[in-house]
């Protein structure tokens, strides 16, 4: 019996060397391991083997069987290289992607900034874009026919309204409607008749912020805005507070962040001028507050390395889908 097994094994070794295709591999498998295969036939004879040899012969048969199976399997693994390709799972094909949509970068920036202030307890509110002289100028302590208006060139409608040149108008509307304490931010579109170039546009976005209660101080303004800038630009952000002039705040401040070797203006702010409180009939002996305003485009341009403001309004899909 053992000799027979050795013979079959020897034959098999010779046949194996001749295998050159998937088909011949399959024929080889059938010839030895099929229902009537040579090795299968030997297994059938195992019953006739004397009991004392059965164990050793069985082990030998199994050894050869395993060798044959692994040889066939090994050939199958190699097969595609030599023979016709086998159909199989292709893990390298690209996925079928859904169409990529996007939320506009300016909107994402507004949402992010609103989110930071919301965590500090500021509520997001909105106001109209078509406004009155009162909300855009008078109530904000910007006198008619004064050089301080030069910075606020304005579009007017045929019926004497104007397009707001700043989101500070929303401060006035909210204060006229509500009593302190107040913590609000107001994002939105603003308009100034500036010729469009790489850094100017006649329409852009601002976010106005306002906090009013009975004790708020200039040091609170510094704390809140520094915290905000750290959240937006990272905890290592270096900033400086520089005195400035805005008609509606006193003291007023511009905040610069360090950018490369220089400083870049990023925020305007200040303690609310008592004249503004008077316009909305707040008691200036009790009420204090601070306000701030920032340009959304400017911040988005800085953070994302965009060098031309026109990208925001041209809406090239290659721009929109990057963010």
């Amino acid at each position: 019996m053992k000799d027979q097994i050795n013979l079959v094994e020897k034959e098999a070794r010779e046949d194996l060397s001749r295998i050159d295709s998937v088909d011949s591999a399959e024929a080889f498998r059938v010839a030895y391991l099929g229902k009537k295969g040579k090795l299968t036939e030997l297994f059938k004879k195992l019953g006739a083997v004397p009991p004392e040899e059965k164990k050793a012969v069985g082990a030998e048969l199994n050894r050869v069987k395993q060798w044959l199976e692994s040889a066939v399997e090994e050939f199958r693994q190699k097969a595609p290289k030599t023979g016709a390709p086998l159909e199989m799972f292709d893990e390298t094909l690209p996925g079928v992607r859904p169409t990529q949509g996007s939320i506009h970068l300016l909107q994402q920036t507004i949402q992010e900034i609103s989110g930071i202030f919301s965590r500090m307890g500021f509520e997001t509110v909105e106001g109209p874009e078509i406004e009155t002289e009162f909300h855009n100028f008078t109530a904000l302590n910007i006198p008619l026919d004064h050089p301080s208006r030069d910075a606020f060139d304005t579009f007017y409608t045929t019926h004497g309204q104007l397009l707001r040149s700043q989101t500070s108008t929303v401060q006035i509307r909210v204060m006229k409607e509500r009593k302190p304490p107040l913590k609000i931010i107001a994002p939105g579109r603003v308009y100034r008749p500036d010729t469009v170039d790489a850094s100017h546009s006649f329409m852009f976005h601002q976010i106005e912020g306002l906090m009013v209660d009975d004790r708020v101080t200039f040091s609170d303004l510094k704390g809140v805005l520094h915290l905000f800038l750290r959240e937006l630009f990272g905890s290592q952000t270096k900033i400086r507070f520089r005195p400035h002039f805005f008609p509606f705040t006193e003291p007023s401040v511009e905040i610069d962040i360090q950018w490369g070797k220089g400083w870049l203006e990023i925020l305007g702010a200040g303690s609310v001028d008592p004249n503004v409180f008077k316009e909305v009939k707040y008691d200036t002996s009790v009420v204090r507050g601070f306000a701030f305003g920032l340009g959304v485009e400017r911040i988005a341009m800085l953070r994302h390395g965009i060098n031309d403001i026109r990208h925001f309004y041209e809406n090239d899909l290659r721009f929109l889908r990057q963010f």
Partner: protein, 685 residues
């Protein structure tokens, strides 16, 4: 403004490096934008930016005064002429006929100029500050303007008729030839300097051609005056004339500077022009006084406003350094005298800002407000907007931001623009409408992207549309979500074929938004809009409220925007949707009993509407139909010409019991029979 540091050194000591001084000034609010190094003569220029509240900084002496305050060092005054011991010019007189326009006017007659050469240092300093040398007298007036901030004007005295200076309003229709050669017609609110015959200067703005100083001038009348800031500003704006003089007058010059500027100029004229004769000063009017000359100021306010304790002695020191006269008034109160050059200081808050500025913003601590928490609501509209944005961007659309100002291109002057809000001073490209729809804005975006090679352009924008339905009321702004689809719905992939976008893709987005906001029971109505193709436009309503409209953009507009494929456009009113939507959704139990599905495939005439069939089917359901879905629609093949095949899946389900198959089959057959009769439908395929 450009400031020469060499010039500053006439008044203050600048401890080097000057870059440090520049930083100090910037951090005190006098922003030095740029430092520029000059050679021959060696100098450092500061490019400074001055806010409109600080005209007193618009001169070298003014900047030096600030440096003295910031650095706590002493300040030298400019060398001036004593103006003493001279006689008035015989026969000359000044008359102010418009005191509001010119409260104070002074002049000096200078005769027999013997030198005309401008010394190098004046030429160089003017040049460094961007002013070209013209002739000695004009150079001296410019020099004084840059040095002490007082604009002066020099007339050729021989060209002044009648030895008379009159400050008055223009006569009706009076014309005037400017020094720059232009001829203007004077306006009633202008203010002119005139001689006995005619205007010789536009007060505070520009001199006249007829009395200009020339190389031949030997006799000069020198003017130094205070003109009303508002009036100068008005004249400067109305004639679109701006000068270094008008810039300063409209911001208000220091009334004391009128005398200082004049006596400084006289000192320079005396020294370099060597005139034979200088008259005594002739004056008219009074120097305007400050509205508020003293401010009483409680020291404790500093802490209340700034949140930092500053010692009273330090407060007093800061105020004094700034040229203010701070004296103790009563316990904790200072009485502060305001100098003539600081009309911006009228209230204690103004003084607190000055204290903060000089104390240094960087030394004020940073604190966070400790307060009772406020409830922070979130506007339901903003919540809805966020939902819409997330849905549409998730579905593959890109959000755009386009200008709210548009031209009338593509819109109908009556149908679209009759109630639109118009801008009187548009900037460019005829953008003078506040848009009543976003359709043309999005067409422009599509066009740009087509030109850039895109073939699938799905866009949306959330923005306002504007209208003025009542001209006497404030215009209305309505927040809408606009959607525009162009080209392919999906590109070809190795699994799927490409497909062009259709009207029903657009409708699907709109329906999904309305339904996810909780608006069930939508009904549809055909509409017409000027910018949509005839017959391919509809409106979705809930009850009687229109929530959205959508359609296919007209051929005419496609041509205008040079687009080859159709554009589908929708506008959803977010305000109206919000009003109709459910704020908090209540859970709805689904039926416990199993559903039975039956399909119904019908061939009907091409004009039969699918929606009518669905309504019909539902109407016959005896309360047992949960849903009817259209799952197939085709024409051609075995379907007769002029007909279409619609395949519905009807889902039968009862909330109360398990339906029996026979019962459903009976109902299904009955529905089928009814439709066959009513719509001349057939089952054949």
């Amino acid at each position: 403004m450009r400031i020469s540091t060499n010039w500053l050194k006439d008044f203050v000591e600048l401890a080097p490096p000057v870059a440090r001084i520049a930083d100090r000034l910037t951090l005190a609010g006098l922003e030095v934008k740029k430092c520029e190094q000059l050679t021959q003569p060696s100098d450092t220029l500061f490019e400074i930016e001055i806010t409109s509240n600080r005209p007193d900084w618009l001169s070298h002496f003014g900047v030096a005064r600030e440096i003295a305050a910031v650095e706590n060092i002493s300040l030298k005054n400019p060398v001036v002429d004593s103006e003493a011991g001279r006689t008035p010019p015989p026969g000359w007189k000044i008359q102010i006929k418009d005191v509001a326009g010119c409260p104070y006017y002074t002049g000096v007659l200078i005769e027999g100029i013997t030198e005309t050469q401008t010394p190098d240092f004046i030429v160089n300093r003017l040049l460094a500050c961007g002013i070209r040398s013209i002739n000695l007298i004009v150079d001296i007036t410019n020099y004084v303007l840059l040095e002490v901030g007082q604009p002066l004007h020099a007339f050729d005295a021989d060209l002044i008729r009648g030895k008379e200076i009159v400050v008055r309003k223009p006569k009706q229709g009076e014309k005037f030839a400017l020094i720059n050669g232009a001829q203007i017609e004077l306006k009633p609110d202008d203010l002119v300097i005139a001689d006995s015959d005619r205007a010789v200067a536009l007060a505070g703005v520009m001199g006249g051609k007829d009395s200009e100083i020339s190389d031949k001038t030997r006799n000069v009348f020198l003017e130094s005056a205070f003109f009303n800031p508002g009036r100068v500003r008005k004249t400067s704006r109305i004639h679109q004339l701006s000068s270094d003089s008008s810039y300063r007058f409209e911001r208000r010059v220091d009334p004391e500077g009128v005398d200082l500027g004049r006596s400084r100029a006289l000192a320079l004229i005396q020294k370099y022009a060597k005139p034979r004769y200088m008259s005594a000063v002739i004056k008219a009017g009074e120097k305007p006084q400050l509205d508020v000359k003293t401010v009483h100021f409680r020291i404790e306010e500093v802490k209340q406003v700034l949140g930092v304790e500053i010692k009273p002695s330090q407060i007093a020191s800061i105020l004094t350094r700034l040229g203010l006269d701070a004296k103790p008034h009563s316990e904790g109160v200072l009485k502060v005298g305001i100098p003539s050059f600081r009309p911006d200081l009228t209230r204690s808050i103004d003084l607190i800002e000055e204290i903060a500025r000089i104390y240094g913003y960087e030394h004020i601590p940073e604190t966070l407000p400790v307060r009772e928490p406020l409830t922070v609501g979130e506007s339901p509209r903003l919540v809805l907007e966020r939902k819409v944005r997330n849905f549409l961007s998730g579905a593959g659309l890109c959000e755009t931001v386009t200008f709210s100002l548009i031209s009338e291109d593509g819109l109908d002057p009556v149908k679209d623009l009759k109630q639109a809000v118009q801008i009187v001073n548009p900037l460019q490209h005829g953008l003078h409408w506040m848009r009543p729809t976003l359709v043309t804005s999005l067409l422009t975006v599509i066009q740009k992207n087509v030109n850039a090679g895109a073939d699938s352009i799905p866009l949306f924008e959330v923005a306002n549309v504007y209208s003025a339905p009542d001209a006497h009321k404030h215009p209305v702004e309505e927040r809408v979500c606009a959607i525009a689809l162009y080209g392919k719905k999906a590109a070809q992939t190795w699994l799927d074929a490409a497909r062009a976008v259709t009207f029903y893709d657009l409708k699907g987005y709109v329906e999904a938004i309305l339904k996810s906001a909780g608006c069930a029971d939508l009904c549809v109505a055909k509409i017409q809009k000027n910018y949509f193709a005839e017959g391919i436009a509809e409106e979705l309503r809930t009850w009687q409220t229109p929530l959205a409209f959508l359609g296919q953009v007209s051929e005419e507009l496609l041509k205008k925007w040079d687009l080859k494929e159709p554009v589908y456009y929708a506008e959803i009113s977010l305000e109206k949707l919000l009003a109709q939507s459910q704020k908090v959704r209540l859970f709805q139990e689904w039926p416990k009993y199993p559903a039975i599905e039956r399909d119904l495939s019908l061939v009907v005439k091409g004009l039969v509407k699918g929606g009518d069939l669905i309504t019909e089917i539902r109407g016959m359901g005896q309360g047992l139909i949960r849903d009817v879905e259209l799952f197939d629609l085709f024409r051609g093949k075995r379907v007769p010409e002029g007909c279409k095949n619609l395949a519905f899946r009807i889902i039968y389900q009862s909330a109360e019991r398990t339906l029996v198959s026979d019962e459903v089959q009976k109902l299904h057959d009955k529905i089928a029979q009814t439709l066959v009769q009513k719509y001349q439908a057939s089952f054949q395929i």
